[in-house]
Symmetry: D2
Subunit: 383 residues, 4 copies
Amino acid sequence: MTVETRAHVYPASGTTAAPRHARIAVLGASGYSGQEFARLALGHPGVTRLQLVSRELAGQPAERLLVGFAERVAGGTGGVATGGAAARAELPAIAGLDAARAAVAAGDVDTVVSCLPHGAWRELAPGFEAAAGGRAEFRVVDLSGDHRASDHGAGDHRDAAADYVYGLPEAFRAAIPTASRVANPGCYPTAAALALLPALELGWIAGPVTISAVSGVSGAGRAAALRTSFVERDGGAELYKAGTVHQHVAEMCMHLGRIAGSAIDVGFAPQIVPMARGILLVANAPLAIQCTPEQAHAAFASRYTGEPFVRVLPAGSWPETRAVAHSNRCDVAVTTMHEGRHLLVSAAIDNLVKGAAGQALQNLNLMLGWPEMTALPVDGVPW
Amino acid sequence: MTVETRAHVYPASGTTAAPRHARIAVLGASGYSGQEFARLALGHPGVTRLQLVSRELAGQPAERLLVGFAERVAGGTGGVATGGAAARAELPAIAGLDAARAAVAAGDVDTVVSCLPHGAWRELAPGFEAAAGGRAEFRVVDLSGDHRASDHGAGDHRDAAADYVYGLPEAFRAAIPTASRVANPGCYPTAAALALLPALELGWIAGPVTISAVSGVSGAGRAAALRTSFVERDGGAELYKAGTVHQHVAEMCMHLGRIAGSAIDVGFAPQIVPMARGILLVANAPLAIQCTPEQAHAAFASRYTGEPFVRVLPAGSWPETRAVAHSNRCDVAVTTMHEGRHLLVSAAIDNLVKGAAGQALQNLNLMLGWPEMTALPVDGVPW
Amino acid sequence: MTVETRAHVYPASGTTAAPRHARIAVLGASGYSGQEFARLALGHPGVTRLQLVSRELAGQPAERLLVGFAERVAGGTGGVATGGAAARAELPAIAGLDAARAAVAAGDVDTVVSCLPHGAWRELAPGFEAAAGGRAEFRVVDLSGDHRASDHGAGDHRDAAADYVYGLPEAFRAAIPTASRVANPGCYPTAAALALLPALELGWIAGPVTISAVSGVSGAGRAAALRTSFVERDGGAELYKAGTVHQHVAEMCMHLGRIAGSAIDVGFAPQIVPMARGILLVANAPLAIQCTPEQAHAAFASRYTGEPFVRVLPAGSWPETRAVAHSNRCDVAVTTMHEGRHLLVSAAIDNLVKGAAGQALQNLNLMLGWPEMTALPVDGVPW
Amino acid sequence: MTVETRAHVYPASGTTAAPRHARIAVLGASGYSGQEFARLALGHPGVTRLQLVSRELAGQPAERLLVGFAERVAGGTGGVATGGAAARAELPAIAGLDAARAAVAAGDVDTVVSCLPHGAWRELAPGFEAAAGGRAEFRVVDLSGDHRASDHGAGDHRDAAADYVYGLPEAFRAAIPTASRVANPGCYPTAAALALLPALELGWIAGPVTISAVSGVSGAGRAAALRTSFVERDGGAELYKAGTVHQHVAEMCMHLGRIAGSAIDVGFAPQIVPMARGILLVANAPLAIQCTPEQAHAAFASRYTGEPFVRVLPAGSWPETRAVAHSNRCDVAVTTMHEGRHLLVSAAIDNLVKGAAGQALQNLNLMLGWPEMTALPVDGVPW
């Protein structure tokens, strides 16, 4: 058996031009992804304006969103000078959607990062696109699932507003720097793709991929619900939408298939466990080849060499979510079983960072010409 | 396709004789399984003596083990009258191993329930067997893994002391009433067997079974360890011993294979999540048949009809550990995928009850001729 | 200094008559207190009918409320026979308020246990009282705060429907057997009163009592709210309504004052911590006497001798909520400081049991003439 | 009543000289405080060398300590370039105590930050002091309790090695820049002092201060112990060492008294709750004056104006630990009760940051002449 890896260029070509600045409106800033994005963006040297947008909280001070921030220091003098980014000191009151649209129309905002629930951006997009008036520098990163299955092969961009590039840099980096509309991958699909990517690219997968994943409760969003209450979640693990019914199955089938260059069947068993953040995913599939654990590890390590946000664990080590908490990193491990004819892979990410806000900023870095790691933590905060 | 289920007789035949009483020594009573067994046994009408045995705590009052018990009520008058079992009021000080062996020799103890770590009972058994002097009524239930792979087909009992019956009643009920030595199944293997049992019996499994399971931290035992400390576990999920290296893989291969009547390959991805108790297991395998989700559900429901401790969830519902917390019940769900050619099953148990102490008492009920459900809760305590 | 304790009679006098049965409607059965009461009542030999009432869930099967219960066993044959109480097998569908009122009017229900939010029973009571038509055997236990401050000295009951006895048996046991309307104490006030009772009765308290208490999240009720969501609560402790503004301060002032026989100032610092259930309370106050820790312990132990649900911990031991989890017990500890001139007391209870549903059943036992401990666990379930 | 505040100068005078660099050995780097300090120090521009020292882990790679760090990236190329500080790339293997002492003797290390358990530094100090040979630039920050009660009035430094300044900048800032030995305050005393400081300075406290505080489990250190295991802590709160017996009582009495200028009696009720980090403290005391809540708030706000790491919450808001998680900030709130004659104050800190490692770095910033906030986060990370 020969294990080969395709050549990868990192950083992406075409970044020789000076990086552009961004004036960003974060829609849905009251949710977990929105808050996480705002925190990361406040540390980014290229983010010169950050407009926090929330329908429910419009008009309220920004500190209402950024729980833990210190703007309320007695006397108003403390705290805010730290943190670095110029944008920080100017945080205005939370804006409504109309104000955001007006800012786009006025050219005060050139980048929309939509952290709204599924379906919302699809509805709002026409208004914002009209406000942008077809300006070439208008950019959108949509964190919902609305446009994740609309990628037309990463190349045919006649109507930028309608054509979203699937923003998974480790798989499709080349398409992102030239994109102006990016669909940010779902949290589960991100972990699944990074766990399986080398095997898919190598054509190893010979049958259905079955994916089991546990997620922290923040994955269910920030709306008040009995299902996500402390008492209902503490102390227990629950399986839900098992089989092929979860909304992420179609997204996984499409993009795992794109990576493999052939159709991939996906079965999925998502589980919610009592932790705030993190996804730990395990996938298995029959192999088209026979491959020792060492060969599989070597292939994965080779494929991910130079990837700034993927760490292939040493053989015998397995991922844990705390090692990647609050970071944009994905930890991956691999082995084979049953005389090398069955693959077992695992990945851990922070669902709010690499699974949402961090990956959105990673995509923006690529779109704007900034080094891909700018303002993105690679180290986890384990406790 | 025809879905058939084999006939099952419940309760086990041969229970017409009057149930016997038991005078029990619980070895390793300071661990989670030991404490759980003691709590359950204190409510059992047939347990006339309960000796708590712990090397480390010998000589100390029983309340040291049974955290939360009220014996220390001011004045010594309160509390203990409740709870029912006569044994309760007589709880002596914690005994050492020598005292336990002496009690066996004196005929004061006729049943040893060993909740010791793996390897310990194997070492202690000769001494206890010698003390029992070959008495027919001497019984052992060993909760460790020492004898789980020694079952010689459930029938050939020339040397009772050496021959342990694998005590999984739902699969091997007939062998238990006549057994005097029982190896209590591991927590993961219990959940795996109950999740897969109908499919295995029906000969449906056509390839490797891959099992993912999350476990509460009590599954790692009660010894002090950094790995099980609150700070190291809170807020994170971790995969460990993935592939075929976990000690439970051999146990699962052996007994899943016995149920199927043919060799079963098992891959296993155990994960530890931040909850105290509970196992949520998901297994998948290619099918030898083509089977709709409804047919699979019907087969599982049929097979488990009358099983007191297995609940097959309605189609579209999936297990959660809280529903079975503190109970001896196992919740099971099933579906098929990929045009009915791939199986996805799930089971939830309380690892300390159905996965350990409760199943031990269930086995004892069968061995002693008590109704199988005696003193065993079937309802969960969700919060 | 002389430490004296008043004489207490336990069990309450007047229990020589045969205990009465109860046919109970539980209003608000979907909340945590309602579910907890239903679970306890299902194990009570004197509860011959249990009607679960919920506005939102009327018409749905009872299993929807009793999470973890096994009625859904495949084939409908399993599970439900266990658990003992006859009422269990007959659990009807969840009723609406109209059905509950009709059952009262028809004489099918003689006892209302209201687990509704504050204000609700006050509004519903006239309709239910009218339905009861002044029948002497009609009883109400209200778990809300509506009537906790209406106790007119425990004796002047000209209008039973308007006059609620404050149901804290350890302080006011004598009034309960003859009461037909009982206001069940709040969770914090229960812990506060039991922590301070001996000192209050002895006239020791010489100044403001300051109470700090941590509560599990179930104390905030079961309505969906961002504030009680897992992500917002996990990993953090929060102080709220500190000072004299919490709704329980008036209740504590009134009844601590009744116990002391003089006005008591109360300051209160309630805190919410990431656990599902439990209250751990610490109170301090200046002393009117000088008292060693040993003398204080002796006085507390003496006062609580014979109380079935209060345990005074040995000197040097301090309460923890897990020791009383799922039990109706209160653990109390006491010391003095600053040369014996300042009191520090602590109490731990399960807020859903002794702080709500368990105490309601304790009150019902007294009202019905059953032994006070009937169907009430005294041992905790620590994990 | 007149509320006055003393004048405070911030930043500390004497910082006009260029800030000095530090080559630091972190003793006890395997503990929570040690790891936290290492993480913070890696982001400090003035830390040019960071030697991680651990008896148990000497010789192992640094990644063994810094859980979550990405040095293990496949191929060794990724990850480590981020994070900024030059020190990062040079992290050597973990050193033993002998190597640390040798580095001091060789002048390669000029600063010891001891995160060892209580008693350890006192024993090691003579050897390290001898190695330092009386060099003026040798500095020690000791995070244990060994020298917290040895402060001789913050001024009389004839023998630097024997005389430790109590490093609580908000109370004793002036003494720190000229100190070469600093005793870092305990976590509880830090929260207590910051909660009470304005009231103490103003001479408001008229009687015993009673302090209740809940702490995350990391406060108990990182040694494996049953008492800090996940199963034993999850779901419960526990009071321990209540009264005047906790080792922090003497530290609080001493330094609260120094702040007040008169003796202060302290009663203390420390509690452990199921969270990894954070302290939420509530203190109450009788007042020498009569003071409305508004007046108290104004006095606190005035006193803390300009303090970079203290936020006085708006009236009616109360602290929560999550708002200060992972930050060096302390949130404080205050009210009065009982006609303004009783004080209730509260403070929240991260016990590992402001309560340990962050405050140590804050002290080092003052000692080295760096801006006090350098490398110290002021914003919390709430989930």
